[in-house]
Amino acid sequence: MSFVRDYIKRERSCVASGCAGVRRRRSRTGAAIAEFGPALFILFFFALFPAVDLIGVGLSYCSCMSLVDLQLREACKIPRTQALDPKGSVQMGIPNAWRPTVMGGASSVGDYPVTQVEYNPSMGNIYVTVTTTFYIHPLLQIPFFPNVPAIGAPFVTTIAKSRILENPAFAAQ
């Protein structure tokens, strides 16, 4: 019975200090639980879900950069005709091999990436430029941002990287 005595003592001290009224008023009107819903709604739809979307787009972008690195690494080592072939290793083989991997699967790239390969001679060297366009879909489609890229609409990004052609003779083959 000692806890009952402690409870009564706490209540009396609370009444004496004036805090008892405050406690009763919150519990009777239910203000805390009424604010809980709108607060969570705002927090989720305007902070948490956009943050998840932005993190997802960042990861997808890193994954796309790694794909362009792989394509460029291949393009600077093979003849020009093979690199420009739409069904060759640069434009189709490597993206097909990339999509089922963990990096490719984790990225939410919707459509097939579109790749262009260019050759630019300069100062005795030949630069190979691989340009790939990606359509990254948001992980969570938030209806309150219908046309905002990466949150309510696909994020279209083009990644271009250059490197020197390893064998200059490949530019003419």
Binding site: E35, P38, A39, I42, L43, A47, A51, L54, G58, M65, S122, M123, G124, N125, Y127, K161, S162, R163, I164
Partner: protein, 122 residues
């Protein structure tokens, strides 16, 4: 509502700082690749001046933007005795969300490539 606003006050600066970090890491990687391309271009030349011109040409190919303010060649060391060329590049990066006392970053990258313009000793 007060708790939500307080959470926003904490979350928004953390998100902006994370975005700054992402841009900084990304541009640092671009600078690393630029140094590698410049050293690879310099390695195809036969002397110091040719290597310098080729590396400068590679740096001139970098497209500047609001984030990448400038890219420059800091050092080219063409060493035919050792058989290596050493190139250092710098890049001035303007952070998209400027912070007090930290609105710009100066990235430096170094790359070493073997000289491929001369036949290897037998």
């Amino acid at each position: 509502m007060i708790e939500t606003m307080t959470a926003f006050l904490i979350l928004i600066p953390v998100g902006l700082a994370a975005f700054n970090l992402f841009v900084l890491v990304s541009t640092t990687q671009i600078n690393e690749q630029l140094a590698e391309t410049a050293s690879r271009a310099a390695a195809t030349k036969g002397d110091q001046q040719g290597a310098l011109n080729a590396a400068q040409d590679a740096v001139d190919h970098v497209a500047t933007s609001n984030v990448i303010q400038s890219a420059a060649l800091e050092q080219v060391n063409f060493d035919p005795v050792a058989g290596f060329v050493n190139v250092t590049t710098t890049m001035v990066v303007k952070l998209p969300v400027p912070l007090p006392y930290f609105s710009e970053a100066n990235c430096r990258a170094n790359s070493i490539q073997p000289i491929v313009s001369t036949p290897a000793p037998r």
